[in-house]
């Protein structure tokens, strides 16, 4: 704002005395504002402005993911695994996978040893990546992403977005829940059409653990992953449903 006003006065070929006076006062006001801005920044704890805003982080990731899906060198059914690997490399670091796993296990998390937790994180992440990666890959790449709002409360944030599919003329709500770890915002839950992923899996895991052992839960996860691996690539599926 300040710079813009100064530039516009400079562009003026013959500034009259009154405009010079105005420019000075604009400068004075700007200088006061700059001081206030600097003081405000100093007054805040460093982590507030060190991290990229949650919404900016989500937007960046979505844009990069879209770029991967649209890149001609990644197209074709034989590139399916390559696309998934690239998506995973991009998306996984944005998640706090340990936090996701911990929240889905709820009270059962505390009963597990560190080794068991690591194994659970690995299996659960695998399952989520395989189902969501496939869904994303099938998704219409003309979809528009709308970023509605961002709420920050202490170390927690929520980013509300919508995906508009112009082909179906429908939009789907997708919210991200984040928390701050080492000055970085990390996703710990995704809420699709008002259904929290963490809460949904927690209900499933809770029910399973109340009926059978933890080993059975691991086995069920492994079976599900194997089942997903045997499915054809999503491009083939899309062609099959289209034909």
């Amino acid at each position: 704002m300040c710079n813009g006003e100064k530039n516009s006065s400079r562009n003026n070929p013959s500034p009259g005395p009154s405009s010079v006076y105005e420019e000075d006062s604009v400068d004075a006001v700007c200088s006061v504002w700059r001081h206030i801005a600097v003081l405000t920044l100093l007054a805040f704890p460093t982590n507030v402005w060190a991290a990229e805003s949650p919404m900016a982080m989500i937007r960046n990731t979505v844009e990069k993911a879209t770029a991967i899906l649209q890149d001609p060198s990644n197209q074709g059914k034989e590139k399916f695994q390559l696309r998934l690997a690239k998506l995973r490399a991009l998306v996984e670091p944005q998640f706090d996978v340990r936090e996701v796993a911990k929240r889905t296990l709820g009270t059962h998390w505390h009963e597990r040893t560190e080794e068991e937790r690591q194994e659970f994180i690995r299996l659960f992440t695998d399952l989520v990546q395989k189902t969501w990666g496939r869904a994303l890959d099938r998704y219409n790449t003309n979809a528009q992403f709308l970023y509605d709002q961002e709420r920050i409360e202490g170390n927690f944030a929520e980013v509300e977005t919508r995906i508009f599919d112009p082909v179906q003329n429908r939009s789907f709500s997708l919210s991200y829940k984040l928390h701050q770890v080492d000055n970085q915002w990390r996703i710990y839950d995704v809420v699709a059409e008002n259904v929290s992923l963490v809460r949904n899996y927690r209900n499933q895991f809770n029910r399973m653990l109340s009926k059978s052992s933890y080993q059975d839960l691991l086995q069920a996860l492994q079976n599900k992953i194997k089942e997903l691996d045997t499915l054809p690539s999503s491009t083939q599926e899309r062609n099959a449903t289209a034909g």
């Binding site: 009270t107 496939r134 809460r199 209900n203």
Partner: protein, 236 residues
């Protein structure tokens, strides 16, 4: 009609208070245990409904999807929604949402006439009057009645005792009851139910498949999905 107001007043007296507000930004997830004392029955019904879906609903919906363009499917969806005006009007009223109740009447008049019997939602595109889905289950929730036991009904799918009670009241509110015999009403509702189910299923083929693939315990996934989505509707 008057008896329903009495029910609403009664509930507001015995109600246990409005449910707690939004939960987010918490170090630990709050424990949410879904009340499901009739699980063996529900499991059986759930399996039955899955079979109905696998052998009847899904194949029909797929064929329907191949024939009817997406835009037409959305039109059919809007047509069925337009028919639910009495339920939405009454329940917005019961919840004290008077401007919304008024908008529902306006929407019905505009969409039924200019909107070609409800196939088009011109009330939204011309006047910005959006639909405000409310049913008696939600009204009960607003007056403090909690879900009660989870209940899966054959053909109708997941619900709770509160929401089933709500559906019965909504059914009684329908003006068809005053003009037609019980059997006729039943037949018409059955027909509408089947047709709207096929239409809805055809619009969500991918979604259903995704849920089946990503779930380790499908019963639990659907159960929780129902409860979470109802919570959101009640909050609005």
């Amino acid at each position: 009609m008057r008896s329903i107001f009495l029910v609403a007043i009664f509930i507001s007296i015995v109600g246990t208070g409005v449910q707690s507000g939004e939960v987010w930004a918490q170090e630990e997830e709050p424990e949410v245990q879904i009340n499901d004392p009739w699980e063996p029955f529900n499991q059986t019904m759930f399996t039955f409904n899955l079979k109905v879906d696998e052998y009847a609903l899904r194949p029909v919906a797929k064929a329907y999807d191949a024939i009817l363009p997406d835009a037409a499917q959305r039109g059919v969806g809007r047509f069925f929604k337009n028919l639910g005006v009495v339920e939405r009007f009454a329940n917005n009223l019961f919840q004290g949402k008077f401007p919304r109740a008024g908008q529902e009447v306006g929407r019905f008049l505009v969409n039924t006439t200019i909107g070609c019997a409800g196939f088009l939602d011109v009330a939204d595109s011309l006047f910005g009057w959006q639909e405000h889905p409310e049913d008696f289950g939600q009204t009960l929730a607003v007056y403090g009645v909690d879900n009660g036991p989870y209940l899966v009904l054959p053909f109708l799918g997941p619900s709770t005792v509160r929401d089933v009670t709500g559906s019965v009241v909504d059914g009684a509110l329908n003006p068809m009851n005053y003009f037609l015999s019980t059997l006729q009403v039943f037949a018409i509702k059955g027909g509408i139910g089947v047709a709207s189910a096929v239409n809805y299923r055809s619009m969500n083929l991918d979604l259903f498949e995704n849920i089946q693939r990503s779930s380790v315990d499908l019963y639990g996934a659907v159960q929780d999905g129902y409860v979470q989505r109802r919570e959101k509707l009640i909050k609005e």
